[in-house]
Symmetry: C2
């Protein structure tokens, strides 16, 4: 019986020292707030409801469980459901221009697990990890738990700036670079072909692992697909993280990692004691969804709708005078914007949430902090009408809370935010 008054307090517990700098994701706390009914959310990274193929998955799950349920419900190998691994060999070739054999691929419980496993097997406390600034804060948190020394690398509109990267490599001797090269979170920026090649070469030159996180690459609304960094990797320094969260369904928690066989083997050993294996039913659903040829047309339709939504949001953004910079992505889920330097989006955020429109302040995405004048807007989770309504509310909130900046309106993204 846990008696309320006898119950332990936080200070009675002797938590591990790695927890000292870990406070939970600001965004996930914020998302709970935005889950309230009536709230228009430009905050999360959720796929649109229309893009969650529940009828197809209902049928597939039923068929699979009837046909081979005994296998799918039993313990499976940590190495993953082998039909999915085989499917992934082809998927990597087609979608990422990357070659990997079955022993170089590991299905995981969402691509977030990939970073957790890589940190576990590769990062000692104090090891330096280079990350884009800004970057996905969920994975920054993971690296903090493993007590990595996180060093931000500046970007411009073509991704990581190579000269800065090489200088930082020489200064910090990093164990790893973490990058999201395509439709980056939170900026929407895509790294150029030349830089992808160069980063693969730098990885070999400096014997630095590159964790290439590619959850968004299939969601392209314009331009030509670029090969992954992994496709230029000749020695095995690049480990690619893929996810079905944005193209099938996040609730299934199925992703994969592909990299050097020795690294994958160590990650498999760690996965044994992390969650034994990724739920077999979920792996089989993803596999069957692809084998039935449903993925491509589904992604095509999602891209068609998402691009309308992105354009609707971009149009509305351009009517907001207080926004001095914003990105114009070619795909993905996010637009990154900033108001005048020295300003803070906090009052804007408070007012807009009060008026039932949510977004995410940009600061938590910067490992070095600061950049309080930035914000991330998601356009996949609201239809065009809702985007119109939400952006109108947002515009009035901008007008009421942000002083008009001196700088001229400029749609070029400024790396200094």
């Amino acid at each position: 019986m846990c008696k309320e008054d006898a119950d332990l307090k936080n200070e009675d517990l002797r938590f591990a020292s790695r927890m000292a700098c870990v406070s939970g994701s600001a965004i996930r706390e914020l998302l709970k707030l935005t889950a309230k009914p009536g709230m228009i959310s430009f905050a999360g990274g959720n796929p649109g409801s229309f893009a969650l193929p529940n009828d197809d998955i209902a049928e597939i799950a039923h068929d699979l469980l009837k046909r081979e349920g005994k296998r799918l419900l039993q313990y499976g190998p940590t190495e993953g459901y082998q039909p999915l691994v085989e499917t992934l060999v082809d998927y990597l070739k087609e979608e990422f221009s990357a070659e990997a054999g079955p022993e170089e691929i590991l299905p995981i419980t969402g691509s977030a697990q990939g970073i957790d496993l890589i940190c576990k097997v590769y990062i000692n406390p104090g090891d330096t990890v280079l990350v884009e600034s800004p970057t996905f804060l969920g994975n920054i948190q993971c690296m903090r738990i493993f007590e990595a020394n996180i060093v931000p690398v500046p970007m411009d509109e073509n991704g990581i700036i190579l000269e800065e990267l090489e200088m930082l490599i020489q200064r910090h001797h990093p164990k790893m670079l973490y990058t999201i090269p395509t439709f980056q979170n939170p900026t929407g920026i895509t790294m150029s072909m030349e830089r992808r090649k160069a980063i693969a070469a730098l990885a070999s030159k400096y014997r630095m692992l590159v964790a290439e996180d590619e959850p968004y690459r299939s969601l392209r609304y314009s331009g030509t697909p670029l090969p992954s960094i992994k496709s230029f990797d000749e020695e095995g320094w690049v480990v690619l993280l893929g996810s079905f969260s944005k193209v099938i369904a996040p609730g299934l928690r199925v992703g994969f990692m592909a990299g050097n066989a020795s690294l994958i083997r160590k990650c498999t050993v760690c996965k044994q004691s992390s969650d034994v294996h990724t739920a077999t039913l979920n792996q089989a659903i993803v596999d069957e969804y692809m084998r039935r040829g449903l993925l491509k047309p589904h992604v095509q339709e999602a891209c068609r709708v998402y691009s309308l939504q992105m354009n609707a949001m971009l149009e509305k953004i351009d009517t907001i005078k207080e926004i001095v910079h914003h990105t114009v992505p070619k795909g993905g889920l996010f637009i990154f914007a900033s108001i005048g330097e020295g300003l803070d989006v906090a009052p804007l955020f408070n007012l807009s949430v009060l008026r039932q429109v949510a977004f995410v302040p940009g600061e938590p995405f910067y490992p070095e902090g600061g950049h309080k004048n930035t914000l991330r807007l998601n356009f996949t989770n609201a239809d065009v009408g809702t985007i119109h309504r939400g952006m109108s509310v947002l515009r009035s909130c901008f007008e009421e809370t942000c002083r008009k900046p001196i700088a001229q309106v400029n749609t070029q993204w400024d790396p200094k935010g």
Copy 2:
């Protein structure tokens, strides 16, 4: 392109030092071997195929995905699918005699994830964790990855020996005790009521966390259910780990942890970057299975069959003269046996695998090593006929490989193995 000859070798990679003593689970490697067609496996911890309710789950999955698929396929809260959390409040009361509010419960991706999260939030390198000797080696491996100092505690036929435990607490000032009180893995031993109470009291007295792992408790074939250690916990030092792997289906990867709210909150923060949340579809399937009242009759039927299988195996064991000790469990999945002291089951294992019968040598379950004369036999994964056939093969292997020991045949379990 990963060229075979250019590919990195193990020695090129600078793995984290925590990996130095981690080699992968001997059992999981062995289980791959035993998955070969024609093999009779007494090796794993798999539920019987009959006990995997694939038809019910096919229907439930289909219904859920049709009815609320958009919610189940979207991102969910790290805190878990709230209907399941509510169901677990009652389940904890009924099945574990334990009181816990929703904020003291966290659904997890199999109970293995619970140990991973607890180690992450609570164990610094070098911290002492006490464990039963022998114990479940998957969780020993997890503690090794977190560089815990693992100290074995001796057991007798009523579980952990209290005097030894208190002495070891005083000597090592452990952060945590890990215990499987009911139908323990690998021994099948159940801790007595008195010792459960005493361990809850020792936890408070010495401010020591107790991780109480209870995956098997519903599989009772005789005797009266005992309350969990958690039920005697007045301050919140005990964190209970539960699993649906043995009573519904391991392939779904759904378990839960219940403990002090501060601890659960920290584990939730770490879970954010481990796998964001447990697959919502899987949580909802387990919840619906229980809400439809299917769990109780299903467990009853599983217990009826498993107890026949256990008795068939016990009868056969008693005809093997080379076995000098074995446990007689009141439930669970395993019987633990030993041959004469000084002998090694390795030749027996090699011969029996050659003859298509697999079991697990006992040594890897001992954190301190040794005890090469012990073995674990699983009886849930083979029907009575298969058990008869397999045990006959095993008997001939025993006769051919083990010298007849001097000690008298004795069905009492000897803690020294």
